[in-house]
């Protein structure tokens, strides 16, 4: 199951301690060499970054250069964090581009995930039938997802939005 929250100001206060805004530093702190031997990780690194895992954290980039895991894209770092998370963390979904979303959906087929978004993440249409996606408790299809995004985007232009942001703690 994938639960989507649009806007950091809408993350419930009791869940704020669970939020990871910056997955880059979180990744740096908690990554493990064995993560990169996982076939799923190898698959999305190849698909998103065109990066090949040679051995644990030794990678080869799209140009054939040896790189470390610190140099993979922010989207792949976020996917790693979500995939290996065991603490029900809420990650910032806007760190991931559209090419990460099919992998996010596959993760959500195996476990419940919550992310928050602040951009229009264009999920492939079939995502809505592959996994239950929710926003504000509503089961989403393509139209309802687009409505949820547009409604949130409109709410950011309303009076009081910046004050809400101010008080959300994120």
């Amino acid at each position: 199951m994938l639960n989507i929250i649009f806007g950091r100001e809408n993350v419930p206060k009791e869940l704020v301690p669970k939020v990871v805004l910056d997955s880059r530093s979180y990744f740096s702190l908690f990554k493990k060499p064995e993560w990169f031997e996982d076939p799923f990780v190898k698959e999305f690194l190849k698909s998103v970054d065109n990066t090949t895992v040679l051995f644990e954290e030794a990678l080869k980039d799209y140009k054939g250069r040896g790189i470390s895991t610190t140099m993979i894209s922010t989207g792949c770092k976020t996917l790693c964090c979500i995939y290996f998370d065991v603490d029900d963390r809420i990650f910032y979904g806007s760190s991931m581009g559209n090419n990460c979303l099919p992998f996010l959906v596959r993760i959500a087929q195996k476990k419940d995930i919550t992310i928050f978004l602040e951009h229009y993440a264009d999920f492939p249409r079939e995502s809505f039938s592959l996994v239950d996606m929710y926003c504000n408790g509503i089961l989403l299809d393509q139209d309802k997802y687009d409505d949820a995004f547009s409604d949130w985007s409109a709410s950011t232009c309303e009076e009081g939005f910046l004050e809400k942001l101010d008080s959300c703690g994120l």
Partner: protein, 367 residues
Amino acid sequence: MHLHVRRDFLRNSIAVDFKSIYGTASITLHSKFTCISGENSGEGKTEFLTTVRDLLVQGLCTITASNGWDITIVIEAGVLKDVIQKEEPGIIIVDELMSERYNLVKRLSKSNKLVICVNRSYPLKGEYPLIGTYTLVREGDWFTFKDNTKLLPLLSDSFTPDTILTEASANHSENELLSVYFSDIKASGSRDKIEKNLRNTSENILVLADLGNIGRALHILCKRCKENPNIRFYDYQAFEELLFKSDLVQGDDNRYPKSCLDFLSLETYYEKALEDFTRGTPLEYHHGEPLAVVYLDKSNCKKIFDTDIGRPLYKLIQNTETFDCFSYLKSQLGESLTLVSPIAVENCETKEDCDELIQSVSSVIQT
């Protein structure tokens, strides 16, 4: 021929040039925040910044701003706070700005710094001009910035809309003005409601949206344009730009004392410019209020629309004033139109000609 009018630099816009041993890349800053975003991960946004930073250290790259301001690159978390505190104005290039807490983004927005942010989401209210957003593209060992103005298909010469859709609500702003000239204008009610009006469509639709504030709505609108390739956007920053630069108001960016860089979006810039220019005159404009009657007077059509900004609309207005014989015959005769010789159709120049032809065809059919 494409009618897209490229904008010259607004007065006070700043060009930022990256020159390295691998090539050059440039962007222009038109407002407080300029965004480099991209649909996908792995496109090289962070790689570009780390490459530039490493080349700078080696003296193999320069970054210059046309106003001479200093430019600082911030890639790691935790560094931005110190950079904001520096007294001198400058330009900050920040990777993943929205991974910072809002309080820091707020401080940045109030600082004397201009910001180039590399992220997928737009800071604050997400009000950014289309010309203020870029996509980064890898080219060999280097990168170029792709101007996002080409992401939305713009109105061209040969395009005739079946529907005109305004960002504004019914009888407000551009909807109010265009209703004087077009009988069937649809109103969205806000920027974020435009996309819903474009869902599941296939007809030719002309959208009048403030490109100077397209911001967060950009990518969902791009999606709608892929789904219906017959959608076109009007090329202006804001309805207010149309009025400001009309021969009625005769506004001039070069004479307006405020800088576009003091505004978060070009829409708010033109709103303010128009209000300031027309204050105390019969043309007085207030955002959100009914237009002064002088704008709605059809005798001012040429003065309002026959300008660089308004000319495409002027042509559409002129076209609606010409009677379309073929469409009229088709709507009246339907399939029976195939019974009429093409020469007879071509000879119809007025509604009266068409009505005569319709009558004679109807009599033949009855016989």
